[in-house]
C-alpha cells in the first residue's frame, strides 16, 4: 500500500498495539502530526514539555509492561527528551522515542533546529537509528519496537528526517525481525542452574536478593513461589518493591543505603546470595569489599555484562528471570526448609531489635505517617509514583506495596521531575486505579507545567507534596556530612500551591493536620481532578536507617529510640 513516511509511523504505532502516545510537535515532525490529526488508532496526549512526554511514556511502560511511545521534534525538542531517555535507559524501560530531524539534504549543515540526535543519545539508549531512506523506514520502525521490548529492555530512538516523512512509498510492515547480530539469551544454562540449586540445598544462611529485573520479567509469582518453597528470607531492591508483597513473612524489606537493619545485616551475614535480576548498584552494595563477604553468589541476569561487573560471581546464569525460575523450581522439590530455620530466627531477632520505624508526633505531620496513611486509605488499588529525594525513600520504606508495577520511580538516574509525568502515563494506562505521585517541594517544580496537561485531558492524579521547605535529601547530607551548612537547599520561599493548582485547572489542598490529611485525600479521590496536596511535614526529619556513601552495609546510622 502506498503511503507517506508520516503515515507509516502512525501505522506502525497502531500495528504495535500502542493505545496512547505522548509528545510535542514542532517543525521537523509536523507531517507526522498532520497524520496524527487524521488517524483514530491511538490517542495522543500533548504534554507541555518534551521531557515530560518521555517520562509519561515511561510511566505508561512501567505500569503496563508494554512499550511506551513518545514523539518529539528535532533540535530542542530532542535535547529536552534526553533526560527522559537516560531515565528509561538506566532502569531498562521498553520505550520508543520518535524524533523529527531536518531534511536529509540539510543534515550536517547546522541547519535550523538541527542536532546530532543519534550522537547525543548513543550513551543513553539501548539503540538508535537515523533513518536514511523511506524504503528502510518500515523495517526500522519494526526493529525499534522489537529491540525496545526484547532481551534487557530499553529505550530506542528513531530519528526521521522531515523529507522522509513526506515521501510516498510502498508500506509493508514486517511480521518479524531478523537482526543477525542481536539474539538475546532467555534460557539459563541448565548445568549452571543445577549447580546453583545444589548450592542452595547446601547453604546455611541463603538470601534471595530481588531486583528490578524480576519486575521487568513479570516473574513475581515465580519469585514468591521460590521463596515459599525454599523458605529462604528475601530482600528487595528499590526497583523490586512489590514483587514479594508487603505482608509476606519471608520479606525482610528493602536493602541498601536506606534499607532496614535486618535486610542489610542479612546481606552482610549470608553465606549464599541468590540474585534475581538485580545489578549490584552501589546504592545497594555500599562498600564493595564488605558486601556479602561471607557469601557465594548466584547471579541471574539477562545482561551478561551485569554479571561479575562489580562483585565476583560463583554461579553466573545469563537468562530471563522467569525462564530461569521455571527451570529451577522443579529441581528444588524436597528441599529441607527446616535447614534455614535458625537463620530465619536470627533475622527475625534483628528485625525486632531495629524495626523499620519512626517516632510519630501529634504536633506535626511526619512524612512516614503520611505514606503509611495513604497505604491504609488507598492501599492495594493505588499506583504510587515518586520523584527523587527523601519522599522517594520514605515511600519505598513505608508504603505497603502488594504487587509489582505498583511502585514507579526513577531508580538508576534519580531524576527529579519524573514522578508527575510518569503518573500521567500510569493513569492513562489504568484509569480505574488511584494514582498518587509522592513528591517533594523541590521535585514537583521541575515538571509542574504538567498540571495543564492533566487538567486538559482530565487525568486526575494526586500529587502528594511532602513539603519540608527543603531540598530534603541534600539537606540531610549537609546535616550529616557538611556540619549543617545548608548551602542552597532552603526552599522557604514557595508558591501558593493551592492557587497554583487552581490557576492551571486543577484543585489544591493545604494540609497541616492529620484530620485535614484524611479529608483531603478522600476529597481528591471524590473530585477526580488533578491536584496538588500540599502537606506541611516535619522540616528536619531524616531518612533512616542510612548507610553513608561508600560505607559497609552493616554500619548503619539508625534512628535513636524515642527521637523526635
Amino acid at each position: 500500500m502506498q503511503m507517506s513516511g508520516a503515515q507509516m509511523v502512525c501505522e506502525a504505532i497502531i500495528a504495535e498495539g500502542v493505545k496512547t502516545v505522548f509528545g510535542y510537535p514542532g517543525g521537523a515532525i509536523m507531517h507526522v502530526y498532520d497524520e496524527i490529526y487524521k488517524q483514530e488508532g491511538f490517542e495522543h496526549i500533548l504534554n507541555r514539555h518534551e521531557q515530560a512526554a518521555v517520562h509519561a511514556a515511561d510511566g505508561y511502560a512501567r505500569a503496563t509492561g508494554e512499550v511506551g511511545v513518545a514523539m518529539v521534534t528535532s533540535g530542542p525538542g530532542f535535547t529536552n527528551a534526553v533526560t527522559g531517555l537516560a531515565t528509561a535507559y538506566m532502569d531498562s524501560i521498553p520505550m520508543v522515542v520518535i524524533s523529527g530531524q531536518v531534511p536529509l539534504s540539510l543534515i550536517g549543515t547546522d541547519g535550523f533546529q538541527e542536532i546530532d540526535a543519534v550522537g547525543i543519545s548513543r550513551p543513553c539508549t539501548k539503540h538508535n537509528f537515523l533513518v536514511r531512506s523511506l524504503e528502510e523506514l518500515p523495517r526500522l520502525l519494526k526493529e525499534a519496537f522489537y529491540i525496545a521490548r526484547s532481551g534487557r529492555p530499553g529505550p530506542v530512538l528513531i530519528d526521521i528526517p522531515k523529507d522522509i516523512t513526506v515521501d510516498i512509498g510502498e508500506f509493508v510492515y514486517p511480521d518479524s525481525v531478523n537482526i543477525p547480530t542481536y539474539k538475546p539469551t532467555y534460557k539459563g544454562n541448565k548445568k549452571q542452574i543445577e549447580k546453583a540449586v545444589e548450592a542452595m540445598k547446601k547453604a546455611k544462611k541463603p538470601l534471595l536478593y530481588i531486583g528490578g529485573g524480576s519486575v521487568l520479567s513479570n516473574a513475581s509469582d515465580l519469585v514468591r513461589e521460590l521463596a515459599e518453597k525454599t523458605q529462604i528470607p528475601t530482600v528487595e531492591t528499590l526497583m523490586a518493591r512489590g514483587v514479594m508483597g508487603a505482608k509476606n513473612p519471608l520479606l525482610l524489606g528493602m536493602l541498601g543505603m536506606h534499607g532496614n537493619y535486618a535486610s542489610n545485616m542479612a546481606m552482610s551475614e549470608t553465606d549464599l546470595v541468590i540474585s534475581l535480576g538485580a545489578r549490584f548498584d552501589d546504592r545497594v552494595t555500599g562498600k564493595l569489599s564488605e558486601f556479602a563477604k561471607y557469601a557465594d553468589i548466584i547471579h541471574v541476569d539477562i545482561d551478561a555484562a551485569n554479571i561479575g561487573k562489580l562483585v565476583d560471581v560463583d554461579y553466573p546464569i545469563v537468562g530471563d528471570v522467569t525462564e530461569v525460575l521455571e527451570a529451577m523450581l522443579p529441581l528444588l522439590d524436597g528441599i529441607d526448609t527446616d535447614r534455614f530455620q535458625a537463620w530465619r530466627e536470627i533475622l527475625k531477632r534483628y528485625d525486632e531489635l531495629h524495626p523499620q520505624s519512626y517516632v510519630d508526633s501529634d504536633d506535626v505531620i511526619k512524612p512516614q505517617w503520611a505514606i503509611e496513611r495513604i497505604g491504609e486509605l488507598v492501599g492495594e488499588n493505588a499506583i504510587i509514583t515518586s520523584d527523587v529525594g527523601q519522599h522517594q525513600m520514605w515511600a519505598a520504606q513505608h508504603y505497603p506495596f502488594d504487587r509489582p508495577r505498583q511502585w514507579i520511580n526513577s531508580g538508576g538516574l534519580g531524576t527529579m521531575g519524573f514522578g508527575f509525568p510518569a503518573a500521567l502515563g500510569a493513569k492513562k494506562a489504568f484509569p480505574d486505579k488511584t494514582v498518587i505521585n509522592v513528591t517533594g517541594d523541590g521535585s514537583i517544580l521541575m515538571n509542574m507545567q504538567e498540571l495543564v496537561t492533566a487538567a486538559e485531558y482530565k487525568i486526575p492524579v494526586i500529587n502528594l507534596i511532602l513539603n519540608n521547605h527543603f531540598l530534603g535529601m541534600v539537606r540531610q547530607w549537609q546535616t550529616f556530612f557538611y556540619e549543617k551548612r545548608y548551602s542552597e537547599t532552603d526552599l522557604t520561599f514557595q508558591p501558593n500551591w493551592k492557587a497554583l493548582a487552581e490557576a492551571c485547572g486543577g484543585i489544591g489542598y493545604d494540609v497541616t493536620t492529620k484530620e485535614e490529611f484524611d479529608a483531603a485525600i478522600k476529597d481528591a479521590i471524590a473530585q477526580d481532578k488533578v491536584c496538588f496536596m500540599n502537606v506541611a511535614v516535619n522540616r528536619f526529619e531524616n531518612v533512616l536507617p542510612m548507610v553513608p556513601a561508600g560505607g559497609a552495609l552493616f554500619n548503619m546510622m539508625l534512628p535513636q529510640k524515642g527521637e523526635k
Partner: protein
C-alpha cells in the same frame, strides 16, 4: 588479583556495516573510561560486515567488561579476544633525501619492508611487521633523522 593490570590486548570486533557503527564502538570505550591504543577498520570482502581491530590494555576483569559491553551493541556480531593470532602493523616513515638510501633500504628489509617512494627531498619507507618489531624499527630509524612517522594500527587474524 593477577599482576596484569595494564596488559596489552588485541580484540577483533565483527560488526554490521551500518552508519555510525564505528562511533558506537569507540564511544563505548570513551564512556566507560577504557583506553584505545590503536584501531583499524575495514569491510570484510563479500559480506555486509566490517572487521575492527582494537589494541587496548587492561586487567582480565576490564577485558571481560569490554568484551561483554561490546557484545551488547546491537550491530556487533562477534567479539574475539585473541589467544593465538597473527598480528601485523604497518608504518610509513619519511626520511630526508640526504640520508643513505641503501642504509635505509637495508634497515627496512630487516623489518619486512622496503623503500616505497623516493622524491626530490625525501625518502618514504614502508614496513609491515609485528607491532613489537615495528617499535624496534622506529627506534632504529631514529638515527636517520625521520621527518615523520605514521603508524597504521594493528590488524590481527586468528590462527
Amino acid at each position: 588479583m593477577e599482576n596484569a593490570m595494564n596488559e596489552r590486548r588485541v580484540i577483533s570486533v565483527i560488526v554490521l556495516n551500518e552508519s555510525s557503527v564505528l562511533a558506537r564502538v569507540t564511544s563505548l570505550f570513551a564512556a566507560r573510561g577504557y583506553n584505545i591504543a590503536s584501531l583499524t577498520v575495514a569491510p570484510i570482502p563479500d559480506s555486509e560486515m566490517s572487521h575492527i581491530t582494537i589494541e587496548t590494555n587492561g586487567s582480565a576483569k576490564v577485558m571481560e567488561q569490554i568484551t561483554k559491553q561490546l557484545h551488547k551493541l546491537i550491530p556487533v556480531y562477534k567479539v574475539i579476544e585473541h589467544e593465538e593470532m597473527v598480528e601485523k602493523e604497518m608504518v610509513l616513515v619519511k626520511f630526508p633525501i640526504t640520508e643513505h638510501l641503501s642504509d635505509i633500504g637495508a634497515l627496512c628489509a630487516a623489518y619486512n619492508g622496503g623503500i616505497a617512494n623516493v622524491g626530490k627531498e625525501m625518502i618514504i619507507a614502508m614496513v609491515a611487521d609485528e607491532p613489537v618489531r615495528i617499535q624496534h624499527f622506529i627506534e632504529a630509524a631514529q638515527r636517520y633523522n625521520p621527518y615523520e612517522i605514521v603508524r597504521g594500527g594493528v590488524v590481527a587474524i586468528e590462527r
